[in-house]
């Protein structure tokens, strides 16, 4: 009723007063403009931030890359001794191997777990069990990484020492298990989404042909969802590469070329975290750490981008 009244009032006013009043720039108009502006900025903020972050990392690392960096040494030398006064060494091979070995083991653990959970939730579980499991998986994903690191440091460490009779329990095995458990929930969520996206008539057709449940999953559902599942795995790998705190605490933080899963190693991310706060801005060491940052950024960017493209490919079909 009020609206109608105001409209009729407005139309009366228009007749009486000049064309200025046709301009409807009242408070609501401004609010509308302001809100759409804010939403627009929020919408593109992700782009602004990512470009800004990349520019910042590149700027800080650039002088090192141009002036002091020896590409072959950087990628092929295992010796990282940046604080040496006379002959600092900037080789990240051991760090790359450390990150790769921990992530690799984590994936060996996380892939069967997360795929199994996703298949169970999507194909077998029904009703309350299904909802309950989904909530639990999401809860698992919300545990802060420093808590995982603490578990590695105080619980896994003595268990590994006792079980395998090794001198130190902070090693690839410890970090790999912790990281696997951290990556699994995210991979489960995405894998479950992909399995859900497989149309039901595929399943019905398979069942109509007399396939058992396992035959249906193995021969029909998994092949139909394979791109999305690969995407889920890649996101898990990206998570593994980028994880810092838990890896810093559970690997033993030791520069090493690993020869067994009981060797302590050091990760790229952990090196940045442990050393950046203590370097003078603008020093060679500072630039070298930012160069590691650029390297990590590029790797995770490529992994996440390919994961995204693969998942997108699935959706289009």
């Amino acid at each position: 009723m009020e609206d109608l009244n105001s409209i009729s009032l407005n139309s009366q006013n228009e007749k009486n007063i000049g064309s200025d009043q046709l301009d409807q720039r009242n408070l609501d108009w401004y609010i509308d403009k302001a809100v759409s502006m804010i939403v627009f900025i929020a919408g593109i903020s992700a782009i602004i931030f990512i470009v800004g972050i990349f520019l910042f990392i590149a700027k800080e690392g650039l002088s090192f890359i141009i002036k002091d960096m020896d590409f072959t040494e950087f990628f092929t030398s295992p010796y990282w001794e940046p604080s040496d006064e006379d002959a600092p060494e900037y080789g990240i091979l051991a760090l790359i191997l450390g990150t790769a070995s921990v992530t690799g083991l984590a994936m060996l653990i996380a892939i069967p777990f997360s795929l199994g959970t996703a298949i169970y939730i999507s194909e077998f579980a029904t009703g309350r069990t299904k909802e309950f499991l989904k909530i639990l998986v999401e809860l698992l994903a919300a545990i802060p990484s420093v808590v995982w690191g603490f578990i590695g440091l105080t619980i896994m460490n003595p268990i590994i020492i006792k079980l395998f009779n090794v001198p130190v329990g902070l090693n690839i095995l410890n970090a790999g298990v912790i990281l696997g458990l951290m990556a699994a929930p995210i991979m489960t969520s995405i894998a479950e989404d992909t399995l859900k996206a497989v149309p039901d008539h595929y399943r019905e057709a398979a069942e109509a042909l007399g396939a058992t449940k396992w035959q249906m999953i193995y021969k029909v559902v998994l092949p139909a969802a394979k791109n999305g599942l690969l995407g889920a795995v890649l996101l898990g790998v990206g998570r593994g590469f980028g994880e810092t705190m838990a890896v810093l605490m559970a690997t033993g933080h030791s520069i090493n070329i690993p020869t067994s899963i009981f060797d302590s190693v050091r990760a790229l991310t952990a090196t940045i975290a442990a050393e950046l706060g203590e370097t003078a801005q603008g020093s060679e060491h500072y630039g070298a750490l930012f160069t590691i940052g650029i390297f990590l950024f590029l790797i995770t960017f490529i992994i996440n981008l390919s994961a995204d493209l693969i998942i997108r490919g699935v959706r289009k079909k």
């Binding site: 295992p78 010796y79 990282w80 001794e81 940046p82 604080s83 040496d84 006064e85 006379d86 002959a87 060494e89 051991a94 009779n165 090794v166 001198p167 130190v168 902070l170 033993g252 933080h253 030791s254 520069i255 090493n256 070329i257 060797d263 302590s264 050091r266 442990a274 050393e275 706060g277 203590e278 370097t279 003078a280 801005q281 603008g282 020093s283």
Partner: protein
């Protein structure tokens, strides 16, 4: 609505407290060496009891942290267990800082082993063969030792993160000026962490300030050469320079200290201040300070 009110109250409160503290007390920012952090805290506490107008904010993180903060100009006094490098002084000067060095005490750098480790006398050349990159000693049996509880026989060398002053000093004295650490050392992020790990790991050997010694860990007796007499680290052997790996501890200020910072440093070097460092297990810069 509620949230915004709470937020603004919190912000207003923060601004208020910041203002009050900055008006009422002068805060000296003191940061750096993990070796010095306990004694720096003890100094700060004692000093604030005596002088209510000055608050000294102490934090650790390693000599590198303190020196980096001095170079970046974010600290009043930087603690360091090593000298500033020529490069660092140059960088500081290019940023408009002028670091001035003050010796505030001496520290014996102890070599720690597990309580059950039978070997207690270690020579500097042996340490170099354990920690150095060219070193060949990787197993305890190579030194003729079997440690109960260390079936793998592997020597677990415990070191520090590469910005630590202790790391740099140990490298210079044990491995020589051109020496490098070997790969595979466990790099701990604090003096106390080294002792904690060695305490729990029968195969381990590590180095850290003597002040971090506990009764649950073995302390090595150090000799200069393979067949020389070994000396136990103590305040006494650090003062009379018979212990081979004792080092000066430094505080750096930006320019010659003035005002409250000068008063504070003078107090640290006075008998009262030096008695505190002695009680914390370090050697003072002069004799007879606690009389």
């Amino acid at each position: 609505m509620k949230i915004t009110t709470i937020k603004s109250t919190v912000i207003a409160g923060l601004i208020l407290t910041i203002n009050i503290s900055s008006f009422a007390r002068l805060a000296i920012q003191n940061k750096g060496s993990d070796t010095l952090v306990n004694v720096a805290q003890a100094w700060a506490e004692e000093y604030s009891k005596k002088n209510k107008n000055v608050a000294v904010a102490v934090s650790g993180g390693g000599s590198g942290t303190g020196i980096a903060a001095m170079i970046n100009g974010t600290v009043d006094i930087a603690n360091a267990s090593r000298k500033m490098k020529a490069k660092e002084i140059k960088l500081a000067k290019s940023k408009g800082q002028n670091p001035i060095e003050h010796v505030v005490g001496f520290d014996a750098l102890a070599v720690y082993v597990h309580k059950s480790n039978p070997k207690k006398n270690i020579s500097i050349p042996t340490l170099a063969r354990i920690f150095g990159r060219k070193g060949t000693v990787k197993k305890w049996s190579q030194l003729g030792i079997t440690i109960p509880g260390c079936p793998s026989d592997k020597i677990v060398a415990v070191s520090r993160q590469n910005n630590s002053g202790t790391y740099a000093y140990f490298k210079k004295i044990i491995l020589g000026k051109k020496g490098k650490y070997r790969m595979g050392t466990l790099d701990m992020h604090g003096s106390k962490d080294v002792v904690d790990l060695v305490e729990k790991t029968p195969c381990a050997i590590g180095y850290s300030g003597l002040a971090y010694a506990t009764e649950h860990v073995g302390v090595g007796c150090i000799s200069k050469s393979e067949d020389g007499n070994c000396v136990m680290p103590s305040v006494k052997t650090a003062i009379n320079k018979t212990y081979p790996i004792a080092r000066p501890l430094f505080m750096y200020t930006n320019g010659e200290p003035k005002g409250e910072i000068k008063v504070y440093l003078d107090w640290i070097k006075s008998n009262t201040g030096q008695c505190i460092i002695l009680k914390k297990g370090y050697a003072p810069i002069k004799n007879g300070v606690c009389s």
